[in-house]
């Protein structure tokens, strides 16, 4: 088995702001992100040989045609992928693997979602019992907040945190994310929060309150990929990034029905991390990574993700959070972009947006100087969809190109 490490480069990226775009439809989002990427890479739509498009929730789109019709791609292969919140990572993975196999020379990966036409918040969908009229059916099975809240309750109980202590610890994660988001011009909710504000926010699903949760919204991200040996043709200055590893883990599910699952780890994230760390040759992620963009749909999601990624020892997030290890200037900045918490979450677009954060940080183009990290070499973009015990995780490791190629 060969590693994908450094075989494929990302030579252009685009990302719309994320938000509630009452005046934009999916085509607007796709066009804005993709044309930013085209311009960035110095290519035209007609140069793209194959494309991957990912989105999760849509009444208006089906298949890959949404991409080819929006961008007027002329009869090339477009593959629609969907892997819940791992969808963005899945588009990049597909586009990269096709290049590594040398089937194509230039590929496009676009992720988007448009949730704010639905008329309600959250990802709630009513569907018939897929296999069971009640047990498998929303809303009887619980929405995302209620399901993640199960993990928070168990984490508090397992590590001896009182609900008050636990909630205060989680509040610090939201405060940190909003601090970062407030400095990121592309973020949606650009307001700093205090711990008290987070603690006093209305309860959504105990123990999680409103400010423990990210909102869902609208957005799109895009990446142009080629084989690393061709990258200089697009970016003569060498300011492109290479893919060090891609991983997807679909769990066997039923965690909430399996007595061996304890709700305080993300098993799929652990599995995907093993895949990508091996591919990328990462031994000590905490030391080697310059930044980690982690799926923080909820405060507890970030806490457990950082532990499951091996960045922090299990049960020790408290020390890290209290010492500021995940803040800008800490040992490893987590969600320096502001995360899903500040950006909101159009599931198909978030994976690409996280890679975009690394890409811009690497190029020294963080826009707002106060949030520009120094010496950015290796980044991690993490997303997981589903619920504790029943996830799909998408992981992408990106970094500076190897010096011999550069």
């Amino acid at each position: 088995m060969e590693s994908l490490k450094d075989k494929v480069a990302i030579v252009g990226m685009g990302c719309t702001p994320f938000g509630e775009f009452w005046d934009k439809d999916p085509v607007d989002l796709i066009v804005d992100a993709a044309f930013e990427a085209f311009e960035d890479a110095g290519v035209e739509a007609k140069n793209i040989q194959a494309a991957w498009v990912g989105y999760t929730a849509s009444d208006t789109a089906m298949t890959g045609i949404i991409l080819s019709s929006a961008l007027q791609l002329q009869y090339i292969p477009v593959t629609r992928v969907e892997n819940a919140c791992g969808t963005g990572a899945e588009t990049i993975r597909g586009a990269a693997l096709a290049l590594a196999s040398k089937t194509y020379d230039l590929t496009l990966a676009v992720g988007w979602d448009k949730l704010k036409d639905a008329g309600f918040g959250g990802i709630g969908q009513a569907f018939p019992g897929k296999w069971h009229p009640v047990y498998g059916a929303a809303p009887e099975i619980g929405g995302a907040v209620a399901r993640y809240a199960l993990a928070a309750t168990r984490y508090f109980s397992k590590y001896g945190l009182s609900p008050e202590e636990g909630k205060r610890l989680l509040a610090k994660i939201s405060v940190k994310s909003h601090y970062n988001g407030a400095r990121n011009p592309k973020a949606w909710l650009r307001r700093q929060l205090t711990i008290e504000e987070v603690l006093n926010a209305p309860l959504i699903a105990w123990p999680l309150g409103l400010l423990d949760c990210c909102g869902v919204n609208d957005g799109a991200s895009a990446a142009i990929l080629c084989r690393t040996e061709d990258a200089k043709a697009f970016r003569p200055k060498g300011d492109y990034i290479t893919i060090k590893g891609v991983g997807i883990s679909c769990g066997p599910g039923w965690g909430k029905e399996r007595v061996t699952y304890d709700f305080t780890t993300w098993e799929e994230t652990e599995a995907a991390a093993r895949q990508v760390y091996q591919m990328a040759g990462i031994k000590n992620p905490r030391k080697e990574l310059s930044l980690a963009e982690v799926h923080d749909c909820f405060s507890i999601a970030e806490l457990i993700a950082v532990e499951s990624l091996g960045i922090c020892q299990k049960g020790h997030a408290k020390e890290d959070i209290e010492s500021g290890a995940w803040e800008q200037g800490g040992e490893i900045p987590v969600n320096i972009s502001g995360g899903l918490k500040s950006f909101g979450h159009p599931p198909g677009a978030s994976g690409g947006r996280e890679v975009y954060e690394f890409y811009k940080q690497f190029q020294g183009k963080a826009e707002e100087p106060s949030r520009q990290l120094k010496d950015v070499k290796l980044g991690l973009a993490h997303n997981q969809g589903g619920h504790p015990g029943n996830f799909v995780c998408g992981l992408t490791i990106i970094g500076e190109p190897p010096s011999k190629i550069r």
Partner: protein
Amino acid sequence: MVGIVSYGAYIPIYRLSREAISAMWVKSLGRGEKAVANADEDSLTMGVEAVLDCLNGMERQQVDGLYFATASPPYVEKQSASIIRAAVDLREDIPTMDIAHSLRGASSAMKAAMDAVQAGSARRVMVAAAECRIPAPNSEFEAIFGDGAAAFLIGDSDVAAIIEGSYHLSSEFIDVWRKPEDAYMQTWEDRFLRDEGYLKILSQAVSALLKKHGLSPKGISKAAFYGPDARAHAAIVRAMGLDAKTQVQAPMFDSVGNTGTALAPMTLVAALEETKPGDRILYATYGDGADAFLLRVTEQIEKVRNRRGIKRHLASKLMLPGYGKYVEIRELMEWEAGRHPSRRSSLPVIWRERQHLFPLYGQKCRACGNIQFPRQRVCIYCQAKDDFELVRLSDKRGTLFTFSMDERAMEVVLPKVFSVVDLEGGGRFYSVMTDRDPSKIEVGMTLEMTFRRQLEGSGLHNYFWRVRPIRC
């Protein structure tokens, strides 16, 4: 001798004080409280509860029939008894029937069960009655009506109360009625209903029964019978010459309310809880006539004491905080239109999953021994394929492993408490906790299963199991 082999009852956990109803309508509606079914309950689910209470210690395989009486069935066309039978896991090769339309349905069911056992076509027949009637807001019925259920196992061995005889009277007298298109019951002037109907017809049946057995009212240890309200009940007690203090089982108007079809059966259960061997019990129902039964309690009664019955259910309660909550859980108003797409149900799915849906069978892997729910083809523990045996989980208790309380879920009673429950004997069940006080939920607490109506979809009621704190 044919008689009652076992008994059980059910009273929903919620109570609404008459003070709260009085405050709502700014008038005085008496004292006490009434029992109100939770938003996920109806006559069918309460019937399941009473039958399970009655089946405590009984062999389910030996039950040869199930008759269910109610005037408030969840479906006007579609049997409830068949769903109850499946939920309580009785054999499927038995007759089931619903007896609706009359408050006398419970005794019609008992008579039919008696006759079947006497004729030898059945050894044991389960007879259940439940009521969940919606009284019109601000009507006289509103303060009076309550919800509840009772069940009796009728048989001719190990009989706890022998049915010595019965008398049946059919009458075309009309007191309350409801046409299919009526939202609420209609009725007539109470004086006519009481003086010309209830007092005369019920007394006639009771007198005829006593005469048939050569008994005077003094020969009755306890009388358990229907009454439309406390006043009418007191009046008939006087008219029959019974001593209200010593000879009459009070029908719980102040604590449960008039539970319609289930009222006399619940009152009989309350009497059986207090009775001793040798006691003679008069049991009578009323509605479209009257049925009266004479029971004699045997030594066997001591062996069926361990029931939740009336007394324990009565003591276990949560007060509704006000009339508004009652409006909400009984859906007495038109609500704001939802923006979420409406749910659909699928009959083929319900049919395919019937064993797992109604009696809640999980699977035990023969290769690794782990119990799992829901149904799998490949074991979620050891990945062995198609090597399972069925295990009933609906009678298992469990421990709360973790939970969350959703304040915005699509659910009438919020927060919706999502619960991960590790079951005794193995297996884990993910469920919603009902009949709970949110301030008293903690990891590690013990829970039990309860059959509830949960989601509506495609015009169907969906029934399935939830968990609740050990009720009583």
